[in-house]
């Protein structure tokens, strides 16, 4: 626990320059962009159907946040994302473990992995809809497909990156295969696995959204489609902003988890 508290303390002591000038400038830039945007829209320089003003968009955002249906749709998208992420991650980690521990399997599957990795997964969306229908399944499968490879590849690389010295050490201490795996290979691979998971989670959200674009009863992607269809562009923009915030939160969450679990890479 020591390492974590030390590094946390380090984070807790920023330079005590009251408010940092960069932050002020960033804020100023933000305000400038918003004002420019509002002017563009207020004076009809850009049609409101193309780009509604920021005030309208922010208003719609709160309107959406107040509507109960928003949360049920958000729930569905999050469920698809997280279910796809969880299943995809479990599949990929388990498969990576199997493939690394059976070298011949790795060699036989390798050409398939290279080819499947190259498949643009979003192009599979129509096929998944055909196979799995318009319910949640197709979106979850999409999320799985799109987030399988980052974690899989990283787990394989991580498990293979155990250095020779450590292996020799374990060998010299007469370690069993199981101990070698549990106490050396797996922890060594953890930082790599997390790097894969980090990429995956955002990909899973993208997978769910693309799946919903192809047709869905529920979900944020469906809402974007619906509002777009009804020409309520302010709501479309509001949804995209909300979606971005969700993506950011998911990313920050997994990064936090990474720091907590793989604490020993902190100081690198």
């Amino acid at each position: 626990m020591k390492a974590i508290t030390t590094s946390e303390q380090e984070i807790k002591i920023p330079k005590p320059k009251i408010i940092r000038i960069e932050y002020l400038l960033s804020l100023l830039l933000l305000v400038f962009i918003l004002v420019l945007w509002e002017v563009l829209s207020r004076f009809k320089i850009v049609h409101e159907l193309i780009l509604p003003g920021p005030m309208v968009v922010i208003g719609s955002m709160f309107e959406l946040l107040a509507a109960p249906f928003f949360y049920s749709n958000l729930g569905v998208t999050l469920f698809e994302t997280l279910a796809g992420f969880a299943l995809g991650s479990i599949f990929s980690i388990v498969l990576a473990l199997i493939v690394v521990s059976v070298p011949i399997l790795y060699k036989v599957l390798n050409p398939f992995i290279i080819i499947l990795q190259a498949v643009p997964k979003v192009a599979l969306a129509p096929i998944f809809v055909t196979w799995f229908g318009f319910g949640l399944t197709a979106k979850i499968v999409m999320a799985i497909a799109i987030c399988f490879f980052p974690t899989f590849i990283n787990t394989v690389v991580g498990l293979k990156s155990v250095d020779e010295d450590s292996k020799l050490l374990f060998q010299s201490m007469v370690a069993s295969k199981k101990d070698l795996f549990l106490k050396l290979s797996l922890p060594t691979a953890l930082p790599y696995i997390f790097a894969g998971l980090k990429a995956s989670l955002t990909f899973a959200l993208i997978g769910a959204i693309v799946g919903e674009f192809m047709g869905a009863d529920k979900g944020i992607g469906m809402l974007i489609n619906t509002f777009n269809f009804q020409l309520e562009m302010d709501k479309v923009y509001a949804l995209i902003i909300i979606l971005s915030i969700i993506a950011l939160l998911l990313y920050l969450f997994i990064e936090w988890l990474d720091k907590k679990i793989v604490f020993w890479t902190d100081n690198k």
Binding site: D163, L168, M173, V174, D179, F263, W264
Partner: protein
Amino acid sequence: MVNEILKSSDEVSTNQSQITITNLYKTFERDGKEKEVLRDINLNFKKGEFISLLGPSGCGKSTLLKLIGGLITKSTGSIQIDSQEVKDPISKVGFMFQKAVLLPWRTVEQNLILPIELAKGNIAEAKLRIKDLLSLVGLEGYEHYYPNELSGGMQQRISLARTLMTNPDILLLDEPFGALDEFTRENLNFSLMDIAEKSGKTVVLVTHSISEAVLMSDRIIVMGINPGHILEDMKIDFQKPRTDKIIATEKYAQYMLHIRDLLGVGR
């Protein structure tokens, strides 16, 4: 105190050979080609002896050490420890590498427990010894630190303590302090000499430093390259315990110049 923690298994250090190497050859295969790395090695190490392997890079010192430790298999010849042919790593041998290779996700204590865990030994009992071992290597109170909170020298001390956890009869050390600066290294060397002497362990040390070898060893095996072979098996005859006062002796200078001559160092 050393004697309490690291009890010698026999009471007196006998004079019989503990490690016996006869007609040892080792060949590696790379890119379909055979490469002879060790040729016709014959050695007898007695119990309690402090032996240094000295030689240029690539002469096979590490290879020889790994063979003795059972980490790799020989091509032909025989290696026996206490009259048993070495096939796999055995627990009476402790190995230590140039890098500390501590597991960064384990505290010092957990790292020290590792060899006991792997050997399915009694962990509770082992924990009792940690405090003494840490004070032996001069790091009392560091139980709950993580490796990346320690300096390189401290990490190597922990690595040494870990090697001692299972109280092995034989220590095989592959440039254990090679990555450290010279001052830290010498201090650790003297600690190591202390531990070895007082517990009567057999030590085989791989080193690049002639002065270090002369200062510490009972015997120096000087090796040549292409393929690795023994140039000379020298007895270093100073009384124990050693101090660095021997630097000022005629004998020391003679040993130094002789080995430099053998290895073709300097001018």
